[in-house]
Structures are given as C-alpha cells and as structure tokens.
C-alpha cells in the first residue's frame, strides 16, 4: 500500500510534462485509459505502456513511475487470479492456455491503467489539481476540502506516530496476540487520535472564520490556469491519436496481431 501511495506523491519538476496544464494531462491520461479499454490485444497495450514509459522518461520520473507499477503488482496478480477463477466458473470452461492468456490480458490492461494515472499524479501538484477543479466549476467548498485533506494528512500521520510512541512507552504491545486482541489494542491509539482531530477541527473552524471563509459568494483567485500554445498542441495531438485509435478499432478492417 505504501509503495502505491508513494507513487501518488508529487515531486516538483520543471520538465515540459510538469508544465502542461493539468486539465490537458488529465485528458491525456483518460484518453490513454479509454484506448486501453477499447483494445485487449497485447500488442496495443504494449504500445500504450511504452508510450507511457516514454512520457515518464521525458518527465524524469521514470524510476518512481516504475516503482508505482511494481507496487501495484499484488493488485494486478489479484485481478489475474479473480478473472481466471471467474472464467473457470463459467459453464463449459476448463483450465487451458486460452483462459490463462485471457486473464493475463485483463491484468496487463490494468498495468496500462495504473501507469497512466501514475504519470498524471507524479507530475501534477495538488495545488494545480485544485485549480483544475476550480476551472471545472467544482464548488470551492469541495476544492477546499480536497486541498486541506492533502495539507493535513502528513500532520495527522505524524500525530498518529507520536500517539503510538506514547502508548508503547506506557507498555502497550501492538504486535502481540491474535487479530481480535490486536484490534482491541488499537483502541488506546484511536481514542486520543479522535479527540485530537476533533480539537483540531474546532481550531481550524475558528481560523477559517477569521480568514473570512465564505464571506462572499463569488470568490476571486490569485492564480488561475490558462491554456497556452503548448497545451493546445499537446491536446490536439493526443485527441487526433485517439480518434485514429477509435477509427482503427471500429471502422477499419485492419487486423491487429
């Protein structure tokens, strides 16, 4: 789990991919995923994954990108097994190479999915995401909730750690016993954590009150996203490629190996 989360973490960068408008990046990610939805063929999925790898290299996030995909391995294996068992449970199916191959294809498609999301998150700051949400007319209340969730997650993690340390130093043993007694041992961790969170939320409410939150219906924004030439270029290239992919799939007679 932590490896996947690390894959979703942002590292500042100055490459062309980082500087693209987050909305364009989101569209590209979605188009890549849509393409992966249309095709099941291993060749096409490989082309998609390679494209994503190239994008990751351009953005200089290749190793972290690869690590996310690697971290998702348990999930991919799970999808493979689930599909395989599902196929077996269909009437008249038996274990053969064909069914293994088909389950593999589905799992491979998942790689293309995750990889496309990973590039998006690795090259987009949460703040840009917030700005993109604003531009998409999402009410500010939700954008604010999103931003503060990202802002306070590390603080809560730190708080959790210090509570765990404090309780351990009082003799609490978390690694002992069976699942039920282990869960019970987490109560002395969760109760103080909840109390702290409640207290903090009260202080936060006070602070946003002082900072005039919700004072005016129409909020202004210091920074705003603007589509530039490179954004339009990237967008038109990817849309064109996507239309081509749709055409090949549904309207042409090209046989895909």
């Amino acid at each position: 789990m932590s490896t996947i989360l690390r894959g979703l973490q942002f590292y500042p960068g100055k490459t062309i991919i980082h500087k693209l408008d987050p909305r364009v990046k989101l569209v590209i990610s979605l188009l890549l995923m849509a393409t992966a939805m249309m095709y099941i063929e291993v060749t096409i999925i490989t082309i998609i994954v390679v494209t994503e790898a190239v994008l990751a290299i351009i953005a200089k996030v290749f190793s972290r990108w690869a690590r996310t995909v690697y971290g998702a391995a348990p999930l991919i294996i799970f999808v493979f097994i689930a599909n395989f068992l599902f196929k077996l449970s269909m009437p008249g199916q038996s274990i053969n190479l064909q069914s293994i191959y088909e389950a593999l294809q589905l799992a491979y498609r998942l790689v293309a999915f995750l990889a496309s999301f990973s590039i998006f998150f690795l090259t987009t700051t949460p703040e840009e995401l917030g700005m993109a949400l604003t531009k998409m007319k999402v009410p500010y209340m939700y954008t604010f909730a999103f931003i503060s969730a990202i802002r306070f997650t590390p603080i809560l993690a730190e708080e959790l750690q210090s509570i765990v340390d404090a309780q351990k130093s009082r003799g609490l043993e978390l690694e002992k016993g069976n699942i039920i007694s282990r869960l019970r041992r987490y109560i002395p961790i969760l109760v103080p954590l909840m109390v702290n969170v409640l207290r903090r939320s009260y202080e936060l409410a006070e602070a946003i009150e002082v900072k005039c939150f919700g004072a005016k219906k129409n909020r202004t924004y210091l920074r705003e996203l603007k589509m530039k030439l490179k954004d339009w270029t990237a967008l038109s290239i990817s849309v064109t490629l996507f239309i081509l992919a749709v055409y090949i799939r549904y309207f042409s007679k090209i046989v895909i190996p």
């Binding site: 802002r151 936060l204 009150e209 005039c212 939150f213 909020r219 202004t220 924004y221 210091l222």
Partner: protein
Amino acid sequence: MTILETSNLWFKYSGGSEWALREVNLEVSEGEFIILAGRSGCGKSTLLRCFNGLIPHFYDGEMIGYVKVCGLDTREHPPYVLSQYAGMVFQNPDNQLFALTVEADVAFALENLSIPRDEIRERVDWALKIMGIEELRDKSPLELSGGQKQKVAIASILALRPKILLLDEPTSSLDPYSAKQLIDTIVELNQKYRITILIAEHRLDMLLPYASRLIIIDNGRIVLDGNPREILEKNDVVSYGVSTPRVVKVATQLKKVLGDSSNLGTPLSVEELVEIVRRRRYQ
C-alpha cells in the same frame, strides 16, 4: 484616538457555570502595544475573541455589555468584517494554514473577500515583505519551521490590512530563538507600521521592554492595567500566575544588598539594568 473599547463586558460560554469575563472595561488607543498576562484559563483568550467578533458570533454564550472595534459594534458585524479591523493570530500555526504554498495561504483571506486579483497580488507582496519571508513564497507549509509558519500565519492576517493585531500566545510552540525573532518582528509592526498590538503571552521577559501597557487578568477580571514598570514596581504579580521577569528579580535583590537609596528603579531589560549600574559607578 480610541480604536477599541469594551464597556462593562461580561461573558459566559454556553454550558459553562462561571463567567469567563467579568466587568471588563477597556479603552485602547491607536498604536498601543499591550500585553495581556495571567494564568492559563484566566480569560485572556476569551477577551481576545471578543475583539474580532468570534464572541458572540462563533461561540455561543451569554454576553453583557458591548465591544466596539474602530467604532463597529461586534454584536452587529460578523467576524469577516471585523477581521479587517482586528486580525487574530492563534497559538498553533499548523491550524491556521490551509493552503499548499505560503503564497496561497497569504492570499486565502483576500480571495474569500473576492478582492480583485491585482490588489491581492499587491497585498500579498506587501505582507510577505514586512514579515521578511519573501523567499518562502513558493514553499509548502510542511517545509517550514515553527517560527516561519507563525510568520506566515501573521502575514496571512496582515494581508487583510487590520489596524489591530490580536495575538493569542503566538510563541508558545517556539524555541527561545525563534520566539525572540518573532517578537522582534511584532515589535517592528508596532513601531514602523503603527499597528496596534494586543498580545496574550507568558514570555514577559522578551516583550516587556517594548510594551506600552500591561494588563493582568485574573479569574475573568482585569486586576491590573497600566504602565508595565509601575505595575511591576508596586505589585507582586506572581500571585496572578505571572512570572516576574528575571531582570526585575535581580534588581530587587540588588536593592536589598545596596539599600533603598540605591536608586535602581525597575529596569525591564538587561541592557537597562547594565546602563543604570554603569551610571552609578561613574557618579
């Protein structure tokens, strides 16, 4: 010119059995630097919350009397209006910063007030500059030290251009060095930009030399109000949960050794004491 006044102010939190504030009468002139002292829970924070409308708008309770901030009655104006006259900085800097960059945090309140972008930019630049944190502009709050975070919190309030700055124990989570730096900045806001300061603080040693007035609160009541030197000269403030600054203690001991004719007075800073002693030697 009176900038802030309370008249026979009483307040009881809903659910509380005791009055948190009792018969508070206060008049503050523009440009003053006031320290509010007293033991924890004496009503300092409650009083500060009356000055920007958090009481009675955010906290429920029973309020008697009135508070006027720049002529505005706090019962009739919401906190977002009053905050543009009396801005409040809280104890824990982490709970006052919501954005993912310093710049966005300083702009936050202005955006909420739907101020035009050019003016936001100008005010953000100004607030960062007078707090001396321009180089932190693009940093995330997670990368900042406690002292830096508190400076950002002050900048985010200053961007509202308040005439009065209310500070509720702003240095309590800071190490002595960062606390000193923060207090120096606050002093500069008062001396250079004529911002009226009301600060609830336990670290009297650092603040006293700059304060124009010391108010000691005990059990919701103002028990002492006046010139810091006179208050410390005539009263034993320890019984109100306020620690006497060390330099005052040293001077008191010296007076005992040297006799009452020593003319030491009540120095509020080490520099002052040294100056007095040096002058005596050459007399």
